[in-house]
Symmetry: C2
Subunit: 327 residues, 2 copies
Amino acid sequence: MHPFTEIHDHSAASLGETALIERIREWLGASAPPSPAGPGDDCAVWQPAAGERVLITTDPVIHGRHFDDRASPEEAAAKLLRRNLSDIAAMGGKPSAAVLSLFLPPRTALRWLESFHRALAGEAAIWKVNVTGGDICATDGMLGIGLTLFGETVDNRFLPRVGAANGDWIAVTGALGGSLAGRHLRFDPRLAEGQWLARQPESVAMMDVSDGLAKDLPSMLSPQWQARVDTETIPVSPDAATMAEASGRSALHHALCDGEDYELLVILKSAADPKAFAERWKAAGFALPFTIIGRVRERLDGTPPVIWTRDGQAVTGELFQGYEHLR
Amino acid sequence: MHPFTEIHDHSAASLGETALIERIREWLGASAPPSPAGPGDDCAVWQPAAGERVLITTDPVIHGRHFDDRASPEEAAAKLLRRNLSDIAAMGGKPSAAVLSLFLPPRTALRWLESFHRALAGEAAIWKVNVTGGDICATDGMLGIGLTLFGETVDNRFLPRVGAANGDWIAVTGALGGSLAGRHLRFDPRLAEGQWLARQPESVAMMDVSDGLAKDLPSMLSPQWQARVDTETIPVSPDAATMAEASGRSALHHALCDGEDYELLVILKSAADPKAFAERWKAAGFALPFTIIGRVRERLDGTPPVIWTRDGQAVTGELFQGYEHLR
């Protein structure tokens, strides 16, 4: 059976990534258990017959998508490991081992492969990850490297993506937007921060911002809850301002929609004292900003999952879409 | 940096898969621990801080490589899971959970994806595997689905690939060759057989025959050991004979070089009684043939890792090469 179609409405692109994932979960049925044991979170949580739960995540880098000829092989290697580390960080876990999956056109240069793997070894040493195995597969043109990363929980705790409820606080680490100016190749996964956050009793849920706040925040909310975000509190990266000069869009638009921020988006219980929490954050030694950007409220029928406000007024517009993978 | 080269000698293809894997291990250095904790076996063996060892393997199916338009999406799904299951079987393990990695051109047909995933769910139910998560990534044309499979050991035992020594027996399950006649899409991973073999005190080492006996058997032997294989004892599949009629090559050549047999290649201790072992195999309820094909001897300098014999005489020739992935 030919797996492709020329009719847009019959194609994967017609659904987009989020709806396609929903559909795949439906097709997989009982073979894909509910999250966090099944798909839907930053990592899958696997309970072996013996021992503690294992966190598993998989993300590739593909030439022409996640890096291009302007990137060095060292940058591609760092991005591959770090984007997976960011998923472990997003659950509050500790990385441990990785397997590689190489998709190589036969004409891939050995010099490139050498630089890539030597850099990957350096990264693995920094983040204390062992490369335990892998697979090589020839392709007709696509160069991609997949990585599946295993992590362990700290004190058998992890933070899922969903779990926010009425009155909860929404917070984000660092600053958002403009990652394509270069940060998408040079970011630090927030492992120490994620582990600390997972241990705080006020923490309810967490994810990493990989597709942009505008797309990622709704994925944290069950249908009965709505996020109210004060756009003036959103920490906007200087890169977003730089990008805005060239793009003609606003820096805020870049902060909401660019993706690849790899910052942590955290939900704190309604009973939390955000000021005291931020002080504990600083006292724990984190120089990175930790910013409350909104709260969770009940969602009325027919209203969107997030209300973005400015001066207390709702802001609307197509400003607020994240990165769509399948266009 | 541009990752491709037009100069063959500088390309991945110039090395071939086996040498490239060697080189990658060298480049990865200390980040890739020695096998079985690191690369080199059918599965990686990962020891979490708490609990028992985990077996991990990763293999994809790619359109145009592992299946084509003549294959149904159901066959592609079965092949994807089963080729990974075969790696777990090759260590004597028990499969448990899987994550998917989808590489999709936007024009991939939803109908194909639906059939693929529904079939994968059916396969997962047969083999008692949970699909715990995954990732979708758009490509410019390549359709591929990667799968990383986790397994557990039975009684905390597993069989590595390397470990044969002087006098050991070499055995194989089933019959070899001609898988492209259709069996490469419809094979049974030898899970029950592998688990049984791993529990027998005579068993020393094991792997699955995926690249052909001619390529796989040498990968089981340390440089000081040589396999002596009597070609007349090799179980040749009827498919190999069918293929031979069309190809003009011998059925034996197909049995040695075709690959994708997914049978188990086993090393038994020199002290084993092969006849008694085969009787226990039958008594355990296995209808599948279990055939002794040779023994391990000391290897003299300058001689090949395997000596193939007929009527007690060495046979040579380019008959004896397995499947090369990177040509």
